[in-house]
Amino acid sequence: MCLALPALVTELLPDDNAKVNLGGVAKTVSLALVSDVAVGDYVIVHVGYALSVIDPEEAARTLELFAEMGELVPEGTA
């Protein structure tokens, strides 16, 4: 029950709710546990609540670290 995907916030709704796109499926989730969420942000949704907002810069940095790993590998091993 802990599995959850990052969801794209598509619309802010009254009562601290938001419409999100979760892998192509539209869902209403609660924003009661996060602050300063804007349309276009990605949030981690769990049991109907956004738990945190994804930091795009940190995500890019992590991906760069992965890529550095990839460079150690000779081409053609895919």
């Binding site: 029950m1 802990c2 599995l3 959850a4 995907l5 990052p6 794209l8 892998g23 192509g24 609660s30 009661a32 546990l33 996060v34 602050s35 990605y42 981690i44 769990h46 049991v47 109907g48 609540y49 738990l51 945190s52 907002v53 994804i54 930091d55 795009p56 940190e58 995500a59 940095r61 992590t62 991906l63 670290l65 992965f66 890529a67 790993m69 990839g70 460079e71 150690l72 590998v73 091993t77 895919a78």
Partner: protein, 387 residues
């Protein structure tokens, strides 16, 4: 999808695997416990163990909230569902977990109890609003991720003056469970379980932050890397842990920086601190009584606490004897060590909690791992150490 596909890239996974092979010292073994069921699921689903060298071993931890709830609490939930006028609601996975005498909430429902599945605590509140003549009890389970949603629901029930809503609280705490594992005789004295490092939870850490792990990284001298639930996150965490072990470091590092900060989610944390207090001890399946490892509502919120409204039985019946969930949750055994695995016990007919939730070690191995094991030369199952 963004933030998913790029964290599942197979080529990059091979690259990280190669780096791990290059860095892992062939002269030593690395025993890494992934605490969370979410990681267990990713490891099984993407076959990550096949990418790791034989001397880097993953040990599945107890981090599945469905798995660790003891039989007594399932029985208590069934007891509540049987009370006059009660409608019990809970998250889907809980319905199939066997209690004692092989009864489950699903079977109690078939017998006529009013038991519903909800996706979120908001649904539970709506249910209470729509059934004013019933007592709606939310059977709340989970780690630090599901506690704040329970808190929000109670706050709202209070604001709405919703008197027919209450919570049967079973929220548990991750750091106390990790401490309990590190203090267990298997790890400390017997040495039957070797744990060199931990992969720290993804979603739990979005709430509590990385700071709470600093204590036992230091105290128990074990490195911790907090990682996301995608396969590349797990591979990268393994690589970071191998490095720490090689260097003799034991620090808390954060691979999941895109969602986790050192202090976590302050809003959620202060809500929980305001409404809940520590239980002196709480029983975990596999770990026994763990001190200060669970929460209950403070006196101020007694009106919404099902355990104060009803005299809920506090028995703790033992697990089904043949089920090895307890040992699996402590990292002592593997699903294939259980005689019932895949024969008597399957996800359709689970004998133990580890076979129920997708994050349970038995369910994950059943779904993704058993074909890897299918080697006709090994009648009694494969050697988990690899060939």
């Amino acid at each position: 999808m963004k933030y998913i596909d790029e964290f599942r890239d197979g080529t990059v996974a091979q690259g990280i695997a190669k780096a791990i092979r290059a860095e892992a010292d062939p002269g030593r073994a690395y025993h890494i416990m992934e605490f969370c069921g979410g990681h267990t699921h990713a490891i099984s689903r993407y076959g990550l163990e096949d990418l790791l060298p034989a001397n880097v071993r993953m040990i599945h931890g107890p981090g599945c909230p469905v798995c660790v709830l003891p039989v007594g609490r399932i029985d208590a939930a069934i007891w509540l569902a049987r009370q006059d006028g009660v409608t019990l609601c809970t998250y889907g996975d809980m319905l199939r977990v066997p209690g004692s005498k092989r009864l489950s909430l699903l079977k109690a429902k078939a017998e006529g109890c009013d038991i519903r599945m909800v996706y979120s605590t908001m649904d539970a509140l709506k249910l209470a609003q729509s059934l004013p003549e019933r007592q709606v009890v939310f059977f709340a389970i989970g780690f630090e991720t599901t506690t704040p949603p329970t808190a929000v629901a109670i706050k709202q029930a209070q604001a709405m003056g919703l008197g027919n809503f209450s919570v049967f609280c079973n929220h548990v705490l991750t750091p106390s469970a990790i401490t309990q594992i590190l203090d267990s005789p298997e790890v400390r004295e017997l040495g039957t379980v070797r744990l060199d490092a931990f992969i720290g939870p993804a979603h739990v850490s979005t709430i509590i932050g990385s700071r709470p792990y600093e204590y036992f990284a230091e105290e128990y001298q074990r490195p911790v890397v907090i990682a996301g639930f995608e396969p590349l996150d797990v591979m990268q965490a393994v690589r970071m842990l191998v490095r720490q072990i090689n260097d003799g470091r034991f620090e808390v590092e954060n691979e999941f920086a895109r969602a986790v900060t050192r202090d976590g989610n302050e809003k959620a944390k202060s809500l929980v601190a305001d409404m809940f207090e520590l239980r002196r001890a709480f029983e975990w399946r596999g770990l026994g009584l763990v001190p200060y490892s669970a929460l209950r509502l403070k006196e101020r919120f007694a009106a919404w606490d099902a355990e104060r409204r009803w005299d809920v039985p506090q028995d703790s019946p033992p697990d089904n004897k043949a089920c090895e969930c307890g040992a699996i949750l402590r990292g002592v055994k593997k699903p294939v060590d259980c005689k019932l695995f895949g024969t008597v016990c399957t996800p359709e007919n689970p004998m133990g909690s580890c076979m129920v939730s997708a994050e349970g070690a038995c369910a994950a191995h059943w779904t993704y791992g058993r074909f890897r094991d299918a080697d006709p030369g090994h009648a009694s199952g494969p050697d988990p150490e690899g060939d």
